[in-house]
């Protein structure tokens, strides 16, 4: 297989391709700063993200990171600062897909926007950071990748400089982000203090020497959790999310709520499985850290779903729902200490993948609505299906899929998560509470998701609208996302395998 001939650093190709594309965009911009040739920029960005996707898929197929005779095993670079395994590739794929969808959609969304190139290059830089997060294997690289993701995101959220909403969103995102990263870094310093290392495997090996500094280490771990909770928009670090998602341009909301969340979770998965194996850590800090995630999961899904239930603004509802979904995924970490935990984590990863389609699609529909200028609330959406049946059908697909109703991809990920949680509950009964919370919340989510479907399909329009345009890019992205969401149901086998292998890669 051709992977052999490549030099090792090429293993990071998916991330590097994204970075390269970003630079190309800068170059193009510096050649002609006045240019607003959006087709060119968007095209380049899409090309870049797609190529990164292709490479990542090719690596996975080729068996990079997979163990076994004809596979190439895990590739680690720079003395273990980076590592490319199934987990990394899996998330690189998610990120690349979301980036592609978002960039395609942005083509129309940004039609009369002056800073085309910056926009796309920022997106791609953020994407690069996320891919790096997926691959980074030491707290240093993790922190750098984190910031590489965050800083462009701040700018992107606030990119509509004359739109108060966008600016306010940017501000809040930035302030909370800065605070969280400060906490994260302090946590890093504490962990370093306790173990004397920043490289994840070494941390794990040095845990025993950290004996007397158990408290410090515990505090450090907690602070790391905080930093990650910020990225994944989990309670109590979620406060930025509703505003940021609501204020930001819709494609950016899609990007952050899907890709950025996924990246945050890959960090969590890697750090907490590699650096702090439950048993060993528990000996040192005297408490099973999964407990923290149990609490976070329950609180997060409850806050997210309940707050979403009575929103009037569609985008904000989606924002809260994405918090709720963060709560679902957190179960993957909460169950780690239990037997069969890797399956739960695998299910969580599946959910992140499917979520990548359906949530992105949902936000892109909001982008379409903003493009039409029909308004932001449920009432404004009333009866859209009369004018745009296909887009609305796609939106219905996203909503039902988010609610976990078959025949859409969301069903599998959600119910497999549910299933595996129950399975793990055999070993750790507290997870039953999680399962119960899952039931209650998904019932509630059903209510507000179907509320949007009701607005689109059942309600009569309040005021007469004239014909609605059909922007190619947005439509393409939305339909693509919808098709993926539907197709992934019958074709869920490979997804499940990939996710489970990815989980197996870190949970040894």
């Amino acid at each position: 297989m051709a992977v052999l001939e490549l030099p090792e650093w090429m293993a990071l190709a998916p991330a590097l391709l994204l970075a390269g594309t970003a630079l190309v965009l800068f170059l193009l911009d510096s050649i002609n700063p006045r240019s607003t040739n959006r087709t060119l920029f968007a095209g380049v960005a899409v090309l870049g993200s797609l190529s990164s996707l292709a490479v990542a898929v090719w690596f996975t197929a080729a068996g990079v990171g997979a163990t076994g005779i004809e596979n190439y095993g895990v590739i680690d670079l720079m003395g273990g600062q980076f590592i490319v395994d199934q987990l990394a590739l899996y998330f690189m794929i998610i990120i690349a897909i979301v980036t592609a969808l978002v960039t395609v959609a942005s083509h129309d969304y940004l039609r009369d926007h002056t800073y085309q190139a910056e926009y796309y290059s920022l997106i791609l830089l953020a994407a690069t950071g996320m891919s790096m997060m997926a691959a980074s294997n030491s707290l240093v690289t993790i922190f750098i990748a984190l910031e590489l993701t965050s800083l462009p995101s701040y700018a992107l959220v606030a990119i509509l400089k004359d739109n108060r909403g966008s600016v306010e969103a940017g501000l809040k995102y930035f302030l909370i982000g800065a605070l969280s990263s400060a906490i994260f870094v302090y946590g890093v310093s504490l962990v370093y203090g306790a173990t004397g290392s920043l490289q994840l495997e070494d941390i794990a090996t040095n845990l025993d020497v950290a004996g007397e500094m158990g408290g410090l280490l515990g505090l450090g771990i907690l602070m790391l959790i905080g930093g990650i909770a910020f990225k994944t928009a989990s309670v109590p670090f979620h406060f930025w999310a509703p505003e940021a998602y609501e204020g930001a341009p819709a494609p950016i909301s899609a990007f952050l709520s899907s890709a950025s969340k996924a990246a945050g979770f890959v960090l969590a998965f890697r750090v907490f499985t590699t650096a702090f194996p439950v048993a060993a850590t528990t000996e040192v800090i005297g408490v099973d850290w999964t407990l923290a995630f149990v609490i976070l999961a329950i609180v997060t899904m409850t806050v997210g779903n309940f707050a979403a239930a009575t929103q009037e603004n569609v985008k904000r509802m989606l924002a809260y729902s994405s918090i709720g979904h963060a709560g679902y995924v957190l179960i993957g970490l909460a169950a780690l200490s239990a037997e069969g935990g890797e399956l739960v984590m695998g299910a969580a990863m599946m959910h992140l993948l499917v979520y990548g389609f359906m949530n992105t699609g949902a936000f892109l529909f909001v982008a379409l609505a903003e493009y039409w200028g029909v308004g932001r609330t449920f009432e404004d959406y009333n009866g859209l299906s009369k004018q745009a049946p296909f887009a609305c059908a796609a939106m219905a697909v996203f909503m039902f899929s988010l609610a976990g109703v078959p025949p859409f991809g969301g069903f599998w990920s959600k119910y497999l998560l549910y299933t595996q949680t129950i399975n793990a509950a055999a070993d750790n009964t507290i997870l039953l509470v999680l399962a119960a919370a899952l039931v209650v919340n998904s019932a509630l989510s059903l209510y507000y998701y179907s509320r949007l479907v009701k607005a689109l399909w059942i309600e009569e329009p309040i005021l007469e609208r004239d014909r609605l345009a059909q922007p190619t890019g947005l439509y393409a992205a939305i339909i693509a996302a919808a098709v993926l969401t539907v197709v992934v149901l019958p074709a869920f086998g490979p997804v499940a395998d990939a996710a489970l292998e990815a989980a197996a890669a870190v949970v040894a």
């Binding site: 049946p389 109703v405 025949p407 179907s450 059942i458 086998g493």
Partner: protein
Amino acid sequence: MMIEALIAVALLGALVTFVAPNRIAGKLAFAISLVPAALSLWLFAAFDGSGNALRGGELAFESQAAWIEIGEYSISWFVGLDGISLPLVVLTTILCTLAIVSSWTPIDERESQFYGLILFIEANLIGVFSALDFFLWFVFWEAVLIPMYLLIGIWGGPRRKYAAIKFFVYTNVASLVMFGAFIALVFGLGDSVTSFALPEIAGAMLDGGPEGFFGLEGTTLASVVFVAMFLGFAVKVPIVPFHTWLPDAHVEAPTPASVLLAGVLLKMGTYALLRFNFTMFPEQVEMYAVPIAAIAVISVIYGAMLALAQTDLKRIVAYSSVSSMGYVILGLVAYTQFGVGGATFQMVSHGLISGLMFMAVGVIYNATHTRMVTDMSGLADRMPIAVGILIAGAFGYMGLPLMSGFYGEFTIFFGAFGSDLLDYSPLFTAAAMFGIVIVAGYLLFALQRTVFGPYRLETDYEVGRAPLHDIAPMVVLLGLIILLGVAPDLIFDMITDAIDPIIQYGGDL
């Protein structure tokens, strides 16, 4: 691959219809729906299965393909028919075709979407009755909700939004509970099962049952799961006191949706009860026989009493469905060949009869634009044929001999009366049987007020005879009802053949 063909035709048909222009959608959907109907009839003719699908019976048209591997467990595409599911599949395809025809008159906006959804629901219903892998079954089971939600919501009556969301959320919560319980059971069974294929699980339940799960004894777990699943299905059936979504949904839903709702969707619940609770848990059935029978009797009497208090024809029929489903539960818990067989027969029979009733009410509504018993009088004067059929349907509902309803009820009563498993079975049976008096009461009251007496209806338009394409489906249904009433063994033989393996354990055979 026949079943796949059935489902595929319906699904593709749904897509085609969805994009077809509105004016041809109805006819197109009808043409498409004829294919599954014909196919299913062919399946009926060519049926070569024997025994029960979950008890190692000989499956007809079986096909299985690996789908998803998760942990040690494998999920697969696994479909097949036995004597219980085949009649229900045929019922589904036929009712869908007739429902499509019966909606030509009432549905006058967004036709293509409407008929697309009907075909979509048909595909899923076929799936529900033929799937033999838990996850596959659950996919179809849940997927039915979406089209029904939209059918009620878009084409429904004034309170349609409330009804639609209520139906959607209520039934879905029930499914979640049931799902969790069953999953716990599967994991509780331990290494003896490695897939979610129902036959395997049923087999494992027989030899040994669950080893226990999160600290519960095996038998305790089984009981907990049994109860949880029973509650989950009770909402779908529905059984008192989980029935309140039904009247709302029925009253608001457009006629064809009501036909499918009462005709097939309610049967999903009883079918699932039979497949899961009453097949996999013989011991628990015996343990909980008396309470379940009590609930059944309450459903019968209470539902009938509620129907007696209604003045909206659709509400009357809706509540009487609750009542009829009570009979089915009684038959199931009797756990005798006639009891369970009669219950299964009653599923089909009630599907036909309630479908007929809703169609007749719909036809009257099309003509009079009202369903209120108090608003109309002497309709027989203006629309004799439709009214004649309505009366026939009503008597079918009352269990008139030589119509399928009587056979279903009689066999249930007979099977329940002599049941060894159920204590005080004669008392329960006699109590439930009193339903046949109340049902006569409210139906005859309704008939007397609406179709008889001097013609009186405040309308500014002419109330005339119903068009042929409204009458035809009802005639077909009536024919089937009488056919099954005179020659029940057409399906009863295959049903009992599939029932016997179930009731060998615990039941008396």
